[in-house]
Amino acid sequence: MTSFFQKILGRPRADLPDWLQKQQELSRRLNVKEGIEETEFVAFDTELTGLDFKRDAIISIGAVKLRGTTIYPGRTFYRLVKPECELKHRSVVVHEITHTDLECAEDMLNVLGDFVTFIGGAVLIGHFVHIDLNFVNRPLQEAFGVSLYNRALDTSTLHDWLAANDSRFARHYQGMTLQSDLFSMARKYGIDGGKAHNAFSDAYITAQLFQRFVPFLAGCGIKNLKELLKIARP
């Protein structure tokens, strides 16, 4: 019962570690009337042991900062997390992260703390971002009973919206892809994702997808963050 109330009300402020406390205040101050070009974004991606929300967990988090559509390669984040559950064989093949790699990885909460500090009050960008958000929020919920307050937008939703609403976009790129996975899109829109397939390179690709899409929004009347959040809702 207590935990139920805790979930609804959140824990008292004092209980939250400094990094979480600060972050919660920052994100609440977000001004959604701001132009897209003035907004701070963080494109991020996580690699998971699997997609089962109950059993699987984060292996790594990668993120890169943007202001508007400008990517800042100097402001990046990439960390490995010590898994709370067994690595599954399949995910090892995909990510090429093995147990040896993870031995030097850190505790989930440490990494999350740094990640939360890194993102600050920025708007999060992800490809199918709800999955990543769930996996980030679960440990935060378990430990502190709070979730990230950051607003988030989804590049796949944004893409679908452009496909449906902006013929100039499709014309510019000579058609669009119907496959919504990150790599098909990267290929279609001429994004070089680098050789690695890890959380960081995927975050970088996501950031570049965002770069490809946003310039077309002004022509559709999407001028500020509020409108952007509406059409790119996770």
Binding site: T70, Y72, P73, G74, T76, Q211, R212
Partner: protein, 627 residues
């Protein structure tokens, strides 16, 4: 991670390659990365100064200035590894130029502060930027154009000095003749390429298929994809030799409206060049302007084409073009324009009542038009079947001539007179009759320019056979040969031995010299006479001279070539100067505006002509025959 990528990239970019890895690493930490879709404005003329130096990672931008009359002056095209925005970083007050992405462009942005610090700390980088700027600024003035040209070593001459073999990258992918369309498309998709060369079983290239062929010949007409690729390939192949320079390859691509061209070496397939390769080569503005002019579609669009020619030529000069490259381009573009006009005319009036060919003669026929244009054209058509039909035919061609003349007038590229005169529209038989009279006395309308006639539209053979007829007759009839010599000799070189120049005595061009009529044309005439005598059948003066040297051991021909090139470059530069002053370029130069050195060279050219005249007088002209 990303910073390493930036450092790796900058290591290959001048002048950052001069910096240590450590410095680059520090720099990379400040760099941002941006994306601009094709068409997006990155910097705006007279807008706030750039906050960053843009280094293009992928794609390309156009740097241009907008004039008060809404015209655009393209200053440069910049491609991968090149930069923009430096001028306004240094000045700090405003952006000097518009910068617009012409492809989807990814660029690294180095913040102003970082750039300034770098300039302060690193002497070599500083030198590089200061120098490249200085050069750029001066480039815009005509004086510098001249220096860059005569100096000839500015390092910006890639387009003309680079052989295509040097920029061919990979061997093109090939596909066998009998492959199905579907398989070919699948191959292209799998290899992510836009074209395939179709080869026979022996590996000889026969044709080509590009994305466009699939679009136009398969999808648009719902062709069966199981059909062999042979059915949709574009043939014959358009190719250039590996030793040709890039400009020639580019001209061919423009002429044939193609985006890919094959490079052959001794008939063997060496590689493939695409538009993109030229962008990579240097992205020079001449190509942009050349393309712009080449793509005119309506007569109205032709209005005010002349200034575009001036810009293109000025830019070509800056990039080290030789005079024959420039005259070649001007002629080529005029051909394009004429064809466009006739296309439009035929759309409105239907095709000609009888088959016909349009040809250029004189300078246009030789690919030697300058900025004073003055193209001369003629039409040779099949005989009409009946007197009534003949009347109708005449009316049709009169309308065509009117349209052509007024269109040329409209874009102010007609030169002084009418391009297509009524007297030059004849049936093949009538032309022959006219030519037959030549050399039999005065007043036969002999014009040696017809020896240079070249079809620009319609069946080529119709024009070639007429020209060959003329050439053959010259061989048979001493009278005709003498008449041609007489016509050439009629215009004396404007120079008595070591005396002052002879200049025009009155009229609008008092004290000026018609460089074309009195300097270039005599050389052209001499080359033509020697060629006729030796049976050299080349279309251009330089071509004739080259063959005279190589096949007939004509030593003087080399000198003639040099003089011809010099006079042409002098003329073109003078014309550009006139254009810059807002005048209509003509063939007149003021010898007193030349430097001593230029005057001396000019004199020498004329002296050479005088010697040639002596020779011709001795060998080909008895003094009795009049033109």
């Amino acid at each position: 991670m990303l910073q390493e990528e930036i450092v790796d990239f900058l290591k290959n970019v001048i002048p950052f390659n001069l910096l240590s890895g450590e410095t680059l690493g520090k720099m990379a930490a400040d760099i941002a990365m941006d994306y601009s879709p094709r068409g997006e404005e990155i910097l705006q003329q007279d807008g706030p100064p750039s906050e960053f130096l843009g280094i293009i990672k992928k794609g390309g931008v156009k740097v241009f200035q907008a004039l008060d009359n809404d015209e655009e002056v393209v200053l440069d095209l910049r491609g991968e590894g090149e930069h923009f925005g430096m001028l306004s970083i240094l000045s700090g007050d405003r952006s000097r130029n518009n910068v617009v992405a012409i492809e989807d462009t990814i660029c690294y942005k180095v913040p102003r502060k970082t750039v300034l610090a770098l300039l302060q700390e690193n002497h070599e980088v500083n030198q590089y930027f200061i120098k490249s700027f200085f050069v750029n600024l001066l480039d815009k003035t005509y004086e510098e154009t001249r220096k860059a040209y005569t100096g000839g070593t500015t390092g910006e001459q890639l387009l003309f000095s680079t052989a295509v073999r040097d920029i061919v990258r990979a061997e093109p992918r090939t596909v066998a003749l009998d492959t199905t369309i579907q398989q070919a498309a699948a191959d292209m998709a799998a290899q992510r390429i836009g074209s395939l060369v179709v080869v026979d079983s022996a590996g000889q290239p026969l044709g080509m298929v590009t994305d466009r062929d699939f679009r136009e010949k398969v999808v648009a007409v719902a062709r069966d994809v199981a059909a062999p690729v042979r059915e949709i390939m574009s043939a014959p192949l358009i190719s250039v030799d590996a030793e040709d320079n890039c400009f020639e390859a580019l001209m061919k691509m423009i002429r044939h409206r193609i985006h890919h061209i094959l490079i052959l070496e001794n008939g063997r397939l060496l590689g493939l060049l695409t538009n993109h390769d030229f962008m990579l080569l240097q992205g020079s503005s001449p190509t942009v302007l050349v393309k712009e002019i080449a793509h005119v579609r309506t007569i109205a669009e032709l209005q005010g084409t002349a200034p575009k020619f001036y810009k293109a030529v000025s830019s070509l000069l800056r990039h080290g073009a030789r005079p024959h490259n420039i005259t070649g381009m001007i002629t080529e573009l005029l051909e394009k324009i004429c064809n466009t006009v006739v296309d439009i005319f035929e759309k409105d009036n239907g095709p000609g009542p009888v088959p016909y060919s349009l040809f250029f003669f004189g300078a246009g026929g030789r690919h030697e038009l300058t900025l004073s244009f003055g193209v001369e054209m003629g039409i040779v058509h099949q005989d009409a079947a009946s007197p009534d039909a003949a009347k109708e035919t005449a009316a049709y061609f009169n309308r065509l001539a009117e349209t052509l003349n007024s269109a040329m007038q409209n874009c102010r590229i007609n030169g002084a007179g009418q391009c297509l005169q009524a007297a030059n529209i004849r049936a093949a038989s009538a032309w022959r009759e006219g030519f037959k009279k030549w050399g039999t006395g005065a007043g036969t309308g002999l014009d040696a320019g017809f020896f240079d006639m070249r079809a620009v539209r319609g069946e080529k053979a119709r024009v070639d056979s007429l020209r060959e007829y003329l050439e053959k007759r010259t061989g048979q009839s001493r009278g005709l040969m003498e008449a041609v010599a007489a016509e050439t000799l009629h215009e004396r070189p404007p120079l008595g031995f070591f005396k002052n120049f002879v200049v025009e005595k009155g009229g609008g061009h008092k004290n000026e010299l018609d460089l074309y009529r009195r300097g270039i044309l005599p050389l052209v005439g001499c080359a033509r006479i020697f060629s006729l005598a030796k049976g050299v059948a080349r279309g251009s003066t330089l071509g004739r001279l080259k063959e005279l040297t190589s096949r007939h051991g004509f030593k003087v021909a080399e000198d003639m070539g040099q003089a011809f090139g010099y006079l042409n470059s002098q003329l073109i530069r003078s014309q550009l100067h006139q254009a810059e002053e807002g005048l209509t370029p003509d063939n007149f130069i003021n010898p007193y505006s030349l430097t001593n050195f230029e005057r001396k060279t000019l004199k020498e050219s004329f002296q050479l002509t005088a010697r040639l005249y002596d020779e011709i007088e001795g060998d080909y002209w008895s003094g009795k025959v009049l033109p």
